[in-house]
């Protein structure tokens, strides 16, 4: 494959935006990315669009990206591919754009994640969320919840590792603080550890402020270009390399084996590990990280799953401030899924937007400094989509970007 670089990123602010149609979300994200890239819109040769909810909530099936790009962003004629994979949808869209450009077929490709979960009825929203697991497996309709999956997990890990509610709340408070510095984030306000702990218990030990919002809208776009063709399209610099972009679906797990249970409890790290390998860099080289933290516990698990500490040391990581903006490995610098927000189909490209902005030194008040104080040069993204891993349904993503 040819080398591929990111030349433009753009977002529509995430948030509860019931009056903003999805076409407008798409338009703003795409045109922000076009302007950021400094290219003509017509330079975009193909597009990949991730979304999860528009079928269930608005009855828009089959041609979601076509509608949003044609009637929203003004793009027509180019190949458009609609992809779907839960919260990984937009990362998958990005990855397919990367492959399309890497293949030599196109020089410039757009990936767009867009999501609107504030439309539709309550029943439709429940159907949409329930549809991210195997609906024939029987547990749909029982009242089992996603938050329960992670609450049960953290309850176990707290016993196993001695993690405390205080530590969980610290992770959340850090995310809200980072979000308060990010104009595109859902939450524009910092919550204290006490406020996180005192918010309503949803499923013990997870409180409302340790869980991402269910009803949220947003869009995020990323434009990639073949490195060898960059001069032809734009003078925008610096370029950001896609050093690795890995997708796996959940592998076969044999739960009779204790080591399988351990992998699953602590988030299967295989995609991230493969991404490090391809990038020729390890966790010790990373200068920032984005992870899949729909619940704050997931960030603490990710510290170890992504190789930044020994098993169980996540509590110490947060206590020591290592993952704060000023720490040695800042995590979820934009607020993460928890506080930047998690409109599922848009989450993956939002993660990429953030790392790109950090690597370019354009992250404003939340800019991290990197090892040598001149700004970070390399970052890792972990993301996943689909049902919880016991269902063995879904995708695991690992992306390394570098300047």
């Amino acid at each position: 494959m040819r080398d591929v670089v990111i030349i433009g990123v753009g977002m529509h602010k995430f948030g509860y935006l019931p009056h903003v149609p999805i076409k407008e979300l798409a338009r703003v994200a795409v045109w922000n990315a076009i302007r950021d890239a400094g290219i003509e819109a017509q330079a975009i040769q193909c597009a990949y669009v991730g979304n999860t909810a528009q079928g269930a909530l608005e009855g828009q099936h089959s041609v979601r990206g076509h509608v949003a790009l044609r009637t929203g962003a003004g793009l027509s004629g180019l190949p458009i591919v609609n992809v779907e994979c839960g919260t990984a949808s937009a990362t998958v869209a990005f990855r397919e754009a990367w492959i399309a450009v890497g293949s030599g077929l196109y020089d410039v490709a757009l990936s767009l994640g867009m999501e609107k979960t504030t439309s539709g009825t309550k029943a439709q929203r429940q159907s949409s969320a329930a549809g991210a697991v195997d609906v024939t497996s029987g547990d749909g309709g029982m009242g089992l919840t996603f938050v329960g999956v992670f609450a049960a997990l953290v309850e176990k890990l707290m016993r196993q590792y001695g993690w405390t509610e205080q530590q969980l709340a610290k992770v959340a408070a850090k995310s809200f603080y980072n979000a308060s510095l990010n104009p595109n984030a859902e939450y524009q306000q910092a919550y204290t550890v006490e406020e996180v702990l005192q918010s309503r218990v949803v499923s013990y030990p997870l409180t409302r402020l340790m869980s991402c919002s269910a009803r949220i809208d947003g869009a995020a776009a990323v434009i990639v270009c073949a490195r060898e063709a960059v001069e032809k399209y734009t003078s925008r610099r610096p370029l950001v390399d896609v050093a690795a972009c890995v997708q796996r679906s959940v592998p076969f797990y044999d739960f009779r084996k204790p080591e399988t249970r351990e992998i699953v409890y602590t988030h299967d790290p295989s995609s991230v590990m493969e991404a490090y390998k391809i990038a020729g860099a390890g966790p010790e080289d990373m200068e920032l990280a984005q992870c899949h933290d729909a619940f704050s516990i997931e960030e603490m698990i990710s510290y170890q799953a992504m190789g930044f500490c020994e098993p169980g040391d996540g509590g110490r990581m947060i206590d020591e401030g290592r993952t704060a903006l000023q720490g040695d490995i800042p995590f979820n610098t934009d607020g993460g899924l928890l506080a930047r927000g998690n409109p599922a189909g848009a989450t993956g490209t939002a993660q990429i937007c953030e790392v790109v902005q950090q690597l370019r030194g354009e992250a404003g008040a939340r800019q991290v400094r990197g090892r040598d104080g001149t700004g970070p040069k390399i970052g890792i993204i972990s993301n996943a989509g689909g049902g919880p891993v016991e269902n063995a349904i879904g995708s695991l993503m690992g992306v390394v970007l570098k300047r």
């Binding site: 029982m142 009242g143 609450a151 049960a152 997990l153 309850e155 176990k156 013990y204 009779r256 063995a392």
Partner: protein
């Protein structure tokens, strides 16, 4: 429990077909229906059509599961939803045949001290909700094993 032979308002209907057996009489036992690979012994619940371990065609056969399990982890949930009144317990149990199952817990108070990790559990066919026609919709839950 009425077993669904009548057409009255208290008919018992499964949440989903083909995944479990509803006791037909007080002497009958409910059970989960999985699939077993006759090549490597891997057992799946819910059943799968091809063994994900061997990845060969035509090695899976339907099988009954014992319903015996151990409690892997659990949480007391405080938010009611379309099917459940709060508080209630959501848990992962591991069947003795291997599969790990996300499930509702029956037969105990919804309190953190009601269960112990790793304790023996057993499957029970229980009511999930009443449907629009007044039928009892049933599925599996797990409860602490007796004896």
């Amino acid at each position: 429990m009425d077993t669904g032979s009548g057409t009255g308002p208290e008919k018992v209907v499964p949440l989903r077909e083909g995944l479990f057996h509803i006791p037909a009489s007080p002497d009958d036992h409910g059970y989960l229906i999985g699939s077993k690979c006759h090549n490597c012994g891997y057992i799946a619940f819910p059943p799968v059509l091809v063994c994900a371990s061997c990845v060969k065609e035509d090695t899976m056969r339907e099988c009954r599961l014992s319903g015996k399990a151990r409690l892997d982890r659990f949480t007391v949930s405080h938010t009611p939803n379309i099917a459940v009144e709060a508080p209630y317990i959501q848990a992962y149990v591991q069947l003795e045949e291997g599969p790990m199952l996300y499930t509702l817990i029956a037969g105990v108070e919804p309190r953190a001290d009601a269960l112990q990790l790793d304790q023996p559990m057993e499957m029970v066919i229980d009511k999930i909700r009443t449907d629009e026609e007044g039928n009892d919709v049933v599925a599996w839950k797990f409860r602490p094993a007796e004896g």
